[in-house]
Structure formats: structure tokens, C-alpha cells
Symmetry: D2
Subunit: 278 residues, 4 copies
């Protein structure tokens, strides 16, 4: 029966990999719908993403690829389907709203399990779309106590990715570790400029002529994780930092949606602290 | 009593206009919060937008400005408040959805009277936000007949601007004339490239490396009205025209929102077939 | 003896091409330094550019690839070396100057045979760099007569590409045909907007908010050839068309240099009226 | 006799400044060719740049303006003419070459006194344009000793601005102080990201998706001076840091030229650590 898979391989570089992998596809009479490779010469790492179609058994294909690839190879044969996500937010609606609208249009390629926020502000918006909204106030709680409560809610859901749609709280290493490689954040600056709190104010005070937004995976070091996508917006002396913040929102939501689309289509490899994106 | 006004003046250029107008403000002890002028040397036209605050009478201020400006001057003293808009759409939700989210966040600076569409597709989305949705099918109707029905609905609303949020029908001169200077459209190309139907397909076939979007006022000549804002998105040979269309949507919604913000803040002058934007 | 080649293949699409081609490389123990493919699904065409290194015989490799590719395959095994170019110009120095500076820095990857112009203006600049400058005035000549004189000079040089660095004359079909696929032009607009004469004036009169530049191969239809690279520059109502022209020059020279680099590194396939760029 | 002046005023904000200043122009029957103001509300500072034409005496005009402006006002009545510049460089020719080409075309609006470099590399290029080239090797010298030698050469020239066209040496506070407010640098990153040495390598290692360039005035804190202009170039995982460096050069030269044009046309005010640009 005709089906389609995304095959992702990353391993240390070796001679003949393209040949050997494409032979596996050829021997099974599979069509290559698209194919991209990259070799990081410095790290001697090989990355390949191929979309194949034809009549194949997923496990058999996986095993066959394992045979021809180096031992350290990470091989994924992924049958495309909607991934599951949960969303964390605070008060701002632009990034979250953009995701909700895309979801409504059937363009998100994901199922939203729930939206968790540390304020009530966004309840009306989320519930308009019949998506569970859970608010967990941080009032009177330590950071750890609040996170425990958030994690208790999150673990009711299975999900592939957690999206921080302007979630304005710092995460502890415990939290990050619990969802390692699954958390996607939007930072409202052109990283690594203006790490930390209130980047628009920092940008305003530095007098920059361009502001930016960065979508990245979250790792232990705040705002230091692998970058997925960035964009920029020109500004000038006439904008107050509040106006920069407002102007920046369009950039934030667009870059988050772009990053999400890349991740949800399995187009993003992470290695060391970088991404390879096909 | 302290209040604020946007003062917009356009007229033929003459010596001393800045002096004379600023004297009117000075004599009334008004603060100038911001001020911008422009002289179109070729057409010998003067444009000025000043935000003043203080204690003034709107009519008296208007009259005083009339005294010092040339006879052909168009003078507007506008007390900032939310403008009223109606929205026309078809099936796509990205531009409309972006407006709804901004409206929900209180950032639109407008009140949405209703959304009128020639299909039912967007009803659920619009009604989620408790905004009247009116669908008027064009099935079996001539263009004129359909427009008459649309106009019958529209005239139930008072509005400052009509926003075409991907309304995929051509308007007749009668319709355009009825709402002259009030209709804002988003055209899904970098005008004047790819005027007319299916610009993404045209762009794909031409093999361009950048696609764009244009927000403009609608005049009789299709896609030929004064341009308010434009933006662009890089593309390459790997994108099908459907993928270009999808990639272009972010550009469309962002440019429409930007144009709307400019218009709703009274920052846009139209002269001949161009805009002056402060 | 270790050497390196760029292998370019384009042909109709067929199953197993990646496998068969990579097998040819594998059987000869060649390293793949980089590899990119693309399938145009609509036209059913396959494109592949691979950089291989190792010990090989160019002709033998070419023959081996011919054996495994479809009959219509165009196969090129190119040993990297500086290409030869001639430049046509008129009066403006920005695009030409940029090429001369790159050449002086050893970054052009080309040898400039000569600069031919229809005015004397640029002689001093070109001769500063010890490059032959030939001016052929068009005064009193028909278009055909002038072109004959230009072609007489050009044919003294062997060259891979002819670069029109703001050559402000329309070429006849005879001329274009004589150097088919070799002529690279910079058009000072975001094609297909503002085809023809004085695009900055056209852009000014249309009141656009962004202007552009386009580098493309020249074909019979003026400004209609395959696009290699494009870029854009934001403008506003304050710029006269002369100021747009001046602002546009940076875009022109950058886009021409980018296009030249792509072409000179054999990264550009032309098919139908489009480019595939790796 | 008809002449033209750029009038620049900056002072603390006060009511009626536009009126009072424009009255001075009106009373002298001067035309306002263009006029821009800005009030920094946070710092309560007023900035105004007006181009006037007519029959006036520069000193009388200056005095009259002084009468109507606050005591702290900095007033400049500038008759447009070419400014004088000196250029410092090291080995790279792209930014320097761009300036030389513009100068040759009469588009620089400046006179180049000399080019001083700490290497011999650029001598041929500079001397092609008949501009004095002075190389001062830093070999065997302390930073201070080298700077003393550079300053000895520089002081032979009168100049309005010193342009660091990729001068790859750190300046001491003594040097910066000696030419306070006159030194324009191009930093090869999107400041404040990647301050310090080898920003392309830093950018590569951080895995950014956009690189940038920044033109700024030099102050004591390295790379911390007021920003004049910035731009960006998209990059991806396929570029090595050397390739990023190469790709970045176009951005560097364009942003330096843009900044230079702004400064040489007296369009840039510096206040605190920021610029106001008209």
C-alpha cells in the first residue's frame, strides 16, 4: 500500500552514505520526493532528510537503514501526521492568537492539548476556540512550587512539543530537563543581543536601528538554546520602547509560527547548540 | 480642559505655512506633541500632521487654521477615538483572524461593525468573537446583483473604512465610487508586479526570488490605487505556487495590519495616486 | 592525484537517479563534499549539483555518468577555475566599480577581458585597474550598426559570460542570440514590476514603498529572462525619483555581484524561463 | 544672493520652539525646503533640522536663532559643501573600495585627505586613485607607540570625520578622545550582539540565522558608541564562518556608505549614546 515517510538520519560523516542510503530506497522501489543532505565539516557530522513514498514497512526500512549507517546514527522514519502540542502563555495574545487562528484554519499541522497560563487574561480568547485553558497563578508561590503545579497539569497531556507563546517566566533547570528538546520559545530580541529581561527596553536604550525576534529550543542556559528562526524589523529614534514592543509583536508571532512549521514538519535537526534546517 | 487632537492639513505649498500654522498653536498655548511636514516639490503640495494637546475648542481651532492656510487647504482637527470599520472576506482566515485577535486585545483602535463574506467558511471563526457575520453567496447572481445585496447590508452600518481582508471578488466602479477613499485592500503581490488574478501563480511562473504583499486604497482601476504599505518574503525554486501562497500569507496579514494602523491613526494622506505617510 | 570537480546534471526525472549517480561516485572512491538535488514535479525535471573530490579522470567520470542517466541528461564535470568575462557599461560606475574592487581583491573568481562602453565616462576608472577599456559611441549609428561594432570588439575575446553592468542600451535579438545563455543583466527594478525604461521614475510615479533590483539572464524578450537574484530597498514619499535612483544603486551592485558569484561557481541551472540555484 | 543652509538645532524642549524658529525664517523671507523635528519626551530634548534657502547672512541668522532658543541650544547654520575625511584601514578592500568608487563618481560629498593603514596590502588600490596612502606597521610597537605614529600623520590633515573602513585595531581612550565625535566605525555584527573580536566566528558558533553590520560613532567603550545605521543578511547552517564573513562584506560596505552619507549631509544628531537621524 502506497504511503509516505520522512526519513531523518544524522551520524558522523562517512564515505558513501548518500549512495548507501539511496540504495536502501532504490532496492525497495521507493520514490524520493525530496532529499537534502548536509555535512558539517568542522564536526564531521552528516545530516540527511529524505521524503520517500511507495510500499514499505516502517520497521523494516528503519532496520535496513541501520545496517548501512554508522553505529552512532540516529535514524527516524516518520509517517507524517499531526503532532501534539501544549502551549504556555502569560498575558499577551498575539503569538497565541496566531497559533489559534492557524489551528482553526487547519494549517497548524498540530493538535493543541491545552493552554496553560500564569494569569487569567487569555481565558476568554482560548475558550472561544474550545481549547482547555488552565490558569495557575504564581501569587504567593516560589518558582519551584509554581512549576510543580504547572507540571502536574502538563503531565495530563501527551505532547511532542511545548510552545512558550510569550510565557514570561524563567524556567528552572528541573523543568527544562523534564521536557528536554521539546520546548520551543520565542525571545523578543535578535539573540544573542539583549538576553534577559525586557529586551525592547534594552534595545531602546542602546539606540538600535533594527529590532528582532528569535525562536529557539530551550536549554538550561536562558536564551542560549539552538536557534530555529529569526527575523528583524527596522526601527528609529521616534519609537518609544513601548512602541518598539508593539512593533516587535508582528515579528514575534511570524517567527514563532515559522519555527513551529519547521519543527512540526520534522525539518529541524539539533546538534551541539545549533540547528540544521532543511 | 486638557485634550488632544491630530491636526491634518494639506494644501498647495506657500511660504510661511509652518510659521503660520505653528503660530495658531502657539497663540492658543497648545503643546506640540509631534509634528511632521512634507512638501511635494513636483506638485507644489504641502502636507502637515501635528498632534497638539491643551485646552482648545475644535471648531475655533479649525477656523483659525482656515484663516492662515491657502483657500484650497483641507484641514482636519481630529479628536482621537476608535474608528468604525466593516470587513469583507471570502474563505481565507489569516488576515481576518489577525484583525480579530488585535481587536480582542484592544489593540485595533477600531470597532468592527460586521464581517460580510461571499461564503459561509468563516462564520464559525467570526461568531466565536461575537461579531455579526453575514454571508451573501454570489451563486446564480450577476456581479451587479451580488453587489447590490452586499451594499444593502453594508448600509446598515456607519463606518469610516471598509477593509477587504482577502475579499476575492472584483468590485465594480459603482461599488468603489459609493465608498470612495474608504476601501482598503490587501493585494497578494508586490504591486505593480502581478496585477490581477492569482499573483502567486504568476510569480511562480515568472520564477521570481522574492514575493510581496501590498495594502492599498481601492480606486476604479483594479490594483492601481494609492499604496499604503508593502512588504516582501524571499522564495526560491523549491516552492510550488501553493507553497508561495502559503508563505505569502504572513506577509499579507502583517502588511494589512500595518496599513490599517497607519490609516486608523490618521497618518495617511492621499494625493493623486500616492500616499504621504507620517 | 587528488582533485575536485563540480558535477552538474539535469535531465527528466526518473526513479533511482540519486542512487545511480552516487554509485558512480562511490565506485570511484570519490568524496562528496556537498550535494544538492531538486525535482521540479510540474515539469518532471531533475537537477543535481555535487562537488566531489578524489582521484578521477574527467572524461571517464563524464562517460560513466552518461551511462546511468537518461538520454536527455545534460552532464557537466567542471574543474573549478576562474571563468572569463567581458563587461558592457555606459556611464554609471557603481556596478562596474564593485566588480573591479572585487577583482582587485582576488574575490571575483573571474578574469575580466575588457570593458566596452558606449561612452567615454568610465575610461579613467577602468584604466586605473589596467583593464582594457573600449568605447564605441552610438552617435550617428543605427542600433544594428552600433551592435556590429560592439560585436567586432567582443569577438576578440573568449569569455564565458558577458556582464551588463548598467549597460543602458536595448539589445537586438541578433545580439542576444549570438551570446545565448551567456549574458547577465542587472535591471534596476523588482521585475516584473517596471519593465522597460526608467524604472525608478515609474516606481516614483506609482508611489511604491519598496524598490528593487533584479539580476537575470538576457533572452529575446527585454527584461523577461530567467531571474538569478533580486533584492529590495524600502523607500517613502520623501524621495524624488532621482533619490530613489541613487538609493537603488546599492541594491543593484549587491544583487549583480551576488548573481555573478552564483553563476561563476556553477550554482545556477536554467530551465524554461527559470533558474534553479544551489 | 540666493543661497541654502542646513540649520540644526538641539536643546531642551520648550513650548513654541517650532513657532519661534519658523518665525525667524519667515521674518527673513526664507524658503523652507525641508523641515523635520523630534522631541525626545523621556529626556525632554528637542531636535530640528531645516533646510532653508533665500538671501541671508549666516552669522545674523545664527544670532537670531540664538535669541529665540533656550540657552543650552546648540545651533548650527551649515552651508553645504564637501566635508573632509581621512580613512583608516587594514587589509580588506571592500569598504574602502566602495568609498573610493563613490568618490571617483563624485557621489561621496567628501574629500579624502589620505588613507592610513597598518599594512601595505591596500597601497596599490589606493594609489590607483591618486590618494595618499600611508602605511604604519605596528610590528614591534606597543599600542600606544603605534597610535602616536598614526596621530602624527593624521594631524597633517584637517578633517571633519575619520572613517574606520575595517581598521582592525583597538583604539585607546587617548586616541578616541583626541577625535571625539569624529570617528565613524563599521562593526561587522548586528550590535550589541557579538561585541569584540571576530564577530562572524561568534555568530557561526552561536548558530544565528541572520548576521548584521553596524556603523557607529566611536566612544571610549569599544563597540558601544551611538549607532548610525544597521543592516542584516540571512544566513544558514551551510555557511562556514569564513563564508559568513564573505557574505557579510556586502552588508558592511553598504551600511558604512549609508552612515557616511547621513553624517556628511548633517542628518545625524548625537545625544547621550543615541542618534536622531532626519
Amino acid at each position: 500500500m502506497e504511503k509516505r515517510a520522512r526519513v531523518l538520519i544524522d551520524c558522523h560523516d562517512a564515505k558513501g552514505l548518500v549512495y548507501k542510503v539511496s540504495k536502501v530506497f532504490y532496492d525497495r522501489d521507493l520514490n524520493i520526493d525530496s532529499n537534502r543532505e548536509f555535512v558539517d565539516k568542522e564536526k564531521e557530522k552528516f545530516f540527511m532528510r529524505t521524503v520517500v513514498s511507495g510500499d514499505f514497512d516502517t520497521d523494516e526500512l528503519n532496520d535496513a537503514l541501520k545496517t548501512v549507517c554508522p553505529d552512532d546514527a540516529r535514524i527516524r522514519v516518520i509517517i507524517p501526521k499531526n503532532k501534539k502540542i501544549v502551549i504556555l502563555a502569560t498575558k499577551e495574545s498575539h503569538a497565541l492568537g496566531d497559533i489559534l487562528i492557524r489551528n482553526e484554519a487547519g494549517e497548524l499541522n498540530a493538535e493543541i492539548g491545552c493552554v496553560i497560563a500564569n494569569h487569567e487574561t487569555l481565558r476568554t480568547l482560548v475558550e472561544r476556540f474550545n481549547i482547555p485553558f488552565i490558569s495557575i497563578s504564581a501569587d504567593g508561590l516560589t518558582r519551584d512550587e509554581h512549576e510543580v503545579k504547572v507540571m502536574q497539569e502538563i503531565q495530563k497531556y501527551t505532547f511532542d512539543y511545548m510552545v512558550l507563546a510569550k510565557y514570561m517566566r524563567i524556567l528552572t533547570p528541573t523543568f527544562v530537563k523534564a521536557y528536554s528538546g521539546k520546548i520551543i520559545n520565542i525571545h523578543h530580541s535578535f539573540l544573542p543581543a539583549f538576553i534577559g529581561a525586557n529586551p525592547y527596553k534594552q534595545a531602546y536604550e542602546r539606540g538600535v536601528k533594527i529590532i528582532g525576534a528569535t525562536a529557539h529550543f530551550v536549554t538550561d542556559d536562558l536564551d542560549e538554546g539552538p536557534i530555529i528562526a529569526q527575523n528583524v524589523i527596522p526601527v528609529n529614534h521616534r519609537l518609544s520602547w513601548k512602541e518598539m514592543q508593539s512593533a516587535g509583536r508582528d515579528g514575534e508571532k511570524v517567527v514563532l509560527s515559522r519555527a513551529l512549521a519547521l519543527v512540526l514538519h520534522d525539518r529541524v535537526f539539533v546538534h551541539d547548540n545549533k540547528t540544521v534546517i532543511f
